[in-house]
Amino acid sequence: MSDVLTVQGLTVSVRDVALVSDVELTVGPGERVGLIGESGSGKSLTALSVLGLLPEDVLAAGSVRLSGVDHELIGADERRMSRVRGRHLAMVFQEPMTALNPTMRVGDQVAEAMLIHRTRSSRRAARIAAAELLELVQLPGVMRTYPHQLSGGQRQRVVLALALANDPALLICDEPTTALDVTVQAMVLDLIMRGVAARESALLFITHDLAVVATVCQRVLVMYGGRVVESGPVTEVFTRPRHRYTEGLIAASDLESADSGPADVGLATSAPRRLPTIPGNVPPAGQFPDGCVFRNRCAHATETCATLPPWTGTPTQGFACHHPAGASDA
């Protein structure tokens, strides 16, 4: 079974500063993979390099392959990339308020997504398909409305309809629900899950919300400082994190109260407790320490952490830490 998306040795840099280093990432057919990490950990840059939409002076190196596309995506020219984008690969962005053109009717925008790639034979067919898609995201009768007449949640559903219009092999969602109310959030997540399931599309879901990853994804990659520090099945990573950063992230996100998940994090008591936090802040880009990128904030860091920790485990499940949690060295 060949993977839908294969990213190898992806490095993204501005001038000489590496923002993302050596990212390895695969997404299988129909698989739902989460990419989590704090702001500035390189999640969005990873997604944008897959689409070839990095800003002008930001450069990507490495390899990105997509099934059904017979060329390398990194460094492909605009003409070739524009054939891939929106057809084999679609993206939902974070900010629904600005993701739609304010001067075009919603229905036209969805229909246009199909006409670009000629997946419908005529304007008429595309409009009919657009109306069906909008109905699918539970927005019947909005074909002729303008974006400003819709709420944030409604707009995000339009964006989703637009992204799913050409049945892409891979859907990338970059914090699709972060800007939405919690109640709307659940609905949009549900629509995303149903949308990809109906099309057997794979999903790469970027978020910093662990609870969302737990409900949506099967497998998860944890990013920090532009590197993948841990990956594995969601249940495995969230119940038995190995990397110290993942451990801190999970402790800080109070998953068990939301999810009644694992109870052995050790701090749960009767009184309203303070959430443990990871000391320090994410350093600015280019100022991460050598070796293990997390060592300046890690309570377990030792001299050996000055060398880059090797990847332990298989490509789909493992971690990069000299002193992993749950090992005998603590």
Binding site: L53, S82, V84, G86, Q94, N101, E112, I116, A163
Partner: protein, 273 residues
């Protein structure tokens, strides 16, 4: 205050509307034939039969002003048309191309901006012959840089929005993005810039006609009426006052309209009033 109908917009719109009406009216009716020479009433003072008096050839001033309004509007339309047709694509192109080509476009734009508009128009007149059309095209070309500059800054903002990123992510090619996404979102800027340029063009045509490089006789033009009034500036100053006033009011009208449209459309002014 109601931004939709601010005072600048109302007054500017009224003045511009009035000029347009007068120009249209001149096609079907003027008090006298604007080019009718009658030596018996040379330099007549304002009277009931000739409200604004007559000029040195005995032509009715009011009729000339009315027909002159046509010239003024025609000049403005062509000059603004030329400026917009060249300036808007250049501005959008400069916003969408990578850094180096964009710099080249904008620096050559600055070069043209630094060149005096009237000098360019006089050069055009000298090379292609003085006529209303050459003057207007020259003025239009001279107004291109300011158009390009304003549209570029607006287009840059649009290019940074997520819907343009989303359009690219959907596989849209640059030209359709420019036409479908960027252009409709800078239309308000184009409208504002057009009305301001209109005022500049009206003024420039008057100056050129005054210098003898604009509208050729006998077509009435406010600028040429000013020029012909020169020799009577002390004996019959009204010959200069009426066309001068007409030019001033027209320019004021277009500037107010531009201001009003800007207040109406510029979202940054949303909360200031």
């Amino acid at each position: 205050m109601n931004r939709r109908l601010n005072p600048s917009l109302i007054v500017g719109g009224f003045i511009v509307g009035l000029i347009v009406l007068i120009a249209l009216l001149s096609f079907i009716w003027t008090p006298y034939d604007a080019t009718l020479v009658d030596s018996s009433i040379r330099l007549a003072k304002p009277s009931w039969s000739h409200w604004f008096g007559t000029d040195k050839f005995g032509r009715d001033i009011l009729s000339q002003l009315m027909v002159g309004a046509r010239t003024t509007l025609f000049v403005g339309l062509v000059a603004v048309g030329v400026a917009a047709v060249i300036g808007v694509p250049v501005g959008i192109l400069a916003a969408m191309t990578p850094r180096w080509p964009s710099e080249v476009i904008m620096r050559s734009n600055d070069l043209l901006l630094a060149f005096p508009a009237l000098l360019l128009a006089i050069m055009f007149g000298a090379v292609f012959g003085a006529s209303t059309l050459t003057a207007m095209i020259a003025i239009g070309i001279a107004t291109v840089p300011s158009f390009a500059r304003v549209i570029r800054s607006g287009a840059l903002q649009v290019m940074r929005t997520e819907y343009v990123l989303a359009a690219r992510a959907a596989g849209r090619r640059p030209v359709p993005i420019a036409v479908r996404h960027v252009l409709p979102n800078v239309v308000s800027l184009i409208t504002v810039q057009a009305s301001v340029s209109f005022a500049i063009a009206v003024l420039a045509e008057a100056a050129l006609s005054f210098l003898g490089y604009g509208t050729a006789p006998p077509t009435p033009s406010w600028g040429r009426m000013l020029q012909e009034s020169q020799e009577f500036l002390f004996s019959a100053p009204r010959l200069a006052v009426f066309p001068g006033l007409a030019i001033a009011v027209a320019v004021l009208g277009f500037n107010l309209l531009g201001d009003g449209l800007r207040d109406r459309f510029d979202p940054r002014l949303e909360d200031r009033r």
